[in-house]
Amino acid sequence: MGRPGLQPSRCARQSGGRVGGPEVDPPPHFRHKTLMPKSHGLRILIATVRVPFVQGGAEIHAEGLRRALREAGHQAEIIAIPFKWYPPERILDQMLACRLLDLSETVGVAVDRLIGLKFPAYLIPHPRKVIWLLHQHRQAYDLWQHPLNDLHRYPNGDEVRAAIHRADCELIPQARHVFANSRNVAGRLQTFCGVQAAPLYHPPQDAARFYTRPAEDFLYFPSRINPLKRQDLVLEALAQTRLPVRVYFSGSAEEPAFERKCVALARKNGCADRVQWLGSVSEEEKRDLYARSLGVLFPPVDEDYGYITLEAMLAQKPVITCKDSGGPLEFVVHHQTGIVAEPTLEALAAAMDSLWEDRERARQWGDAGRQRYDDLDIDWSHVVEKLLA
């Protein structure tokens, strides 16, 4: 600590003796400077929701934003409201809960900015709110009546959907500015709510740590094992490739039934020996797999944004995605940085064969992907500047 007055020698001098008058050591200095409140930049709250015991991209996103705000000299904290979307009436309860919270100030000191990320937390009122929309409640919008979702099957599904629409349409525009995670998310907001939002991209976690290595004999598909990510489609396509294409899958299984389906598919189609299931891998292992892959597979259903596309670009690898994959389409340029295929087995199989066949072209597309990433100016300081403007 090195503060004067805390040295043992000082005590030794005094032991046994009375303290007083002229014999006392110089008094500790009354330090006026530390009495002044320090300048801590703005006080910012990030409002989001979380599903207990589930960690995903949204948590990483909120953490990344907090870190970036702190690095820019601000005080920032995350407020994460627990969210459960079933039965449907719960959604209304939690929308109301968010509207009842008051984050305008703390102990008399103003909260300078509220940054809302996820539904329904972005509904929390605040006089200086900015929304950076990660996604709306998709089951009430683009995924309404989607076979993978069930809101429409409840007797009160219609009613709840209407309430969500009404709240979004009326309350989102109360924010001072509305940004979206991607052009795809901005597009949906425009289509369904008639509200304009500017896309604002941010980098994946540890973007600076991605690197590249010479391509080895596998395509890499990193994603949670989930029907919306369509590992099953890739496995069916793999059975139709002309060439002995190999695929490494990594990611945690969220739905055991779907994982079983995938494993069974690989076996049924006789391509089990061309598939590797790596399960959850560390960030380090993930970067190594990107670096050594021939290319990256990322054909999800209408992804909001998709870190995987960006990570592949950082690792200088071409990306195979689908025409209905959403977010990745804002980054992948067909036949320049990867392949945008129809979401069919045949088209996906042809795309995989084509990367497998022409390694030199795959390498060039990978390089072009990295160039494109660098040209897009995706960095946190840009995000902070926009959100606080």
């Binding site: 600590m1 007055g5 805390l6 043992p8 000082r10 005590c11 005094q14 032991s15 009375r18 303290v19 007083g20 008058g21 006392v24 050591d25 008094p27 500790p28 200095h29 009354f30 330090r31 530390t34 009495l35 409140p37 006080r43 709250l45 599903v51 207990p52 015991f53 589930v54 005080q75 904290e77 407020i79 994460a80 409201i81 627990p82 459960k84 719960r90 309860d93 939690q94 109301l96 809960a97 968010c98 009842l100 919270l101 008051d102 984050l103 305008s104 100030e105 703390t106 102990v107 008399g108 000191v109 909260v111 969220e254």
Partner: protein
């Protein structure tokens, strides 16, 4: 077990309750459970905000997550402990105190000054009386908190003590020539009372204050008092300090000052005992009185500048006696068998 610890608090403010919540989650993980913290922001003014936040907590659904059951919810602070759950246990850190024992407190009372204060007070009391008993079991932070719960709501709660963070790292070096007063700087911790006592001491006592101010206003009040009473040269104001610095300041002090208004529990007392230091507290300080034995492990003064000054003078003049009281405090801590293992076992049974 999947366990959610549910608490409320004020964003940007980190005090004992926030540390306790983190430590509880760690202790649950260490015992092999999956534990997460749910933090619901709370703003207690104007009074009408309070029922709104109570309602918000009642609207949350923590019964399950993605179809998987949540086995236990542990509620800590008002109003988060009102969140419903079929397997809820409350470990009451404190109720909303200005609706109870601090209602008409001259410094702390706030609801009382608002026209809708009485209505809101009644809403809080009614919710507590009806909803706290929904829990499978009710534990409290201390005897003091149990007392209040019994007195005001007629509900029994068993005190369940917990150790301060990093209890094993506290130690004793030597008795330096300063009193240490670590606490958030805010009215109920009574830094002002200590500053006034300092001005009345016969001995040339010195006090090191550590801790951040809740608001610039609280800070200004202390600064003004220090200047008006001309005790600038007997005060060191450290503001925020690291945990390591805090332990060193404990280890090297003559004694610890901790005279809050009716504290719920008070880690400061326990940290002082772990550091083998005598504690000066006040007869109305609440929690510390469950631990400090007057003239054996410290001194219990009346909450007046004069009485506090006498206690400070007494320790300052009798350094050997101070050291002996510190040792007795450490022995008393050991005897209490305060551990996280015990806390986790009780909360999950």
């Amino acid at each position: 077990m999947k366990v959610l610890v549910v608490t409320s608090g004020v964003p940007f403010i980190r005090g004992g309750a926030e540390i306790l919540a983190d430590n509880l989650c760690q202790a649950l993980s260490a015992a092999g459970h999956t534990a997460e913290l749910i933090f619901i922001p709370f703003k207690h003014y104007p009074p009408s905000r309070i029922p709104e936040h109570m309602l918000a907590c009642r609207l949350l659904d923590l019964t399950e997550t993605c179809g998987v059951r949540i086995d236990r919810v542990i509620g800590l602070k008002f109003p988060a402990y009102l969140t419903p759950h079929p397997n809820k246990v409350i470990w009451l850190l404190h109720q909303h105190r200005t609706a109870y024992e601090l209602w008409d407190h001259p410094m702390a009372g706030d609801l009382i000054h608002h026209p809708d204060g009485p209505v809101v007070r009644e809403a809080i009391r009614q919710a507590d009386r009806e909803l706290i008993p929904e829990a499978k079991a009710v534990y409290t932070l201390s005897e003091n908190v149990s007392d209040r719960l019994r007195r005001f709501c007629g509900i029994a709660g068993e005190p369940l003590y917990n150790p301060p963070a990093h209890a094993a790292l506290f130690h004793n070096n030597f008795a330096g020539d300063y009193f240490f007063f670590p606490s958030r700087v805010t009215g109920v911790k009574r830094q002002l009372l200590v500053i006034e006592a300092l001005a009345r001491c016969q001995e040339r006592t010195l006090v090191r204050f550590a801790g951040e101010a809740d608001s610039p206003r609280e800070l200004a009040a202390c600064v003004d008092a220090i200047r008006q009473l001309k005790v600038e040269d007997r005060v060191e104001w450290l503001g925020w300090i690291s945990e390591e610095q805090k332990r060193e300041l404990y280890a090297n002090c003559l004694g610890v000052l901790f005279p809050p208004v009716d504290e719920d529990y008070g880690y400061v007392t326990l940290e002082a005992m772990l550091s083998s230091k005598p504690v000066i507290t006040c007869a109305d300080s609440g929690g510390p009185l469950e631990f400090v034995v007057d003239r054996q492990t410290g001194l219990v003064a009346a909450p007046t500048p004069e009485s506090l000054a006498r206690a400070m003078d007494a320790l300052w003049a009798d350094r050997r006696g101070a050291a002996a009281k510190g040792e007795a405090g450490r022995a008393r801590y050991e005897g209490l068998k305060i551990s996280w293992e015990n806390v986790v076992e009780k909360l999950l049974c």
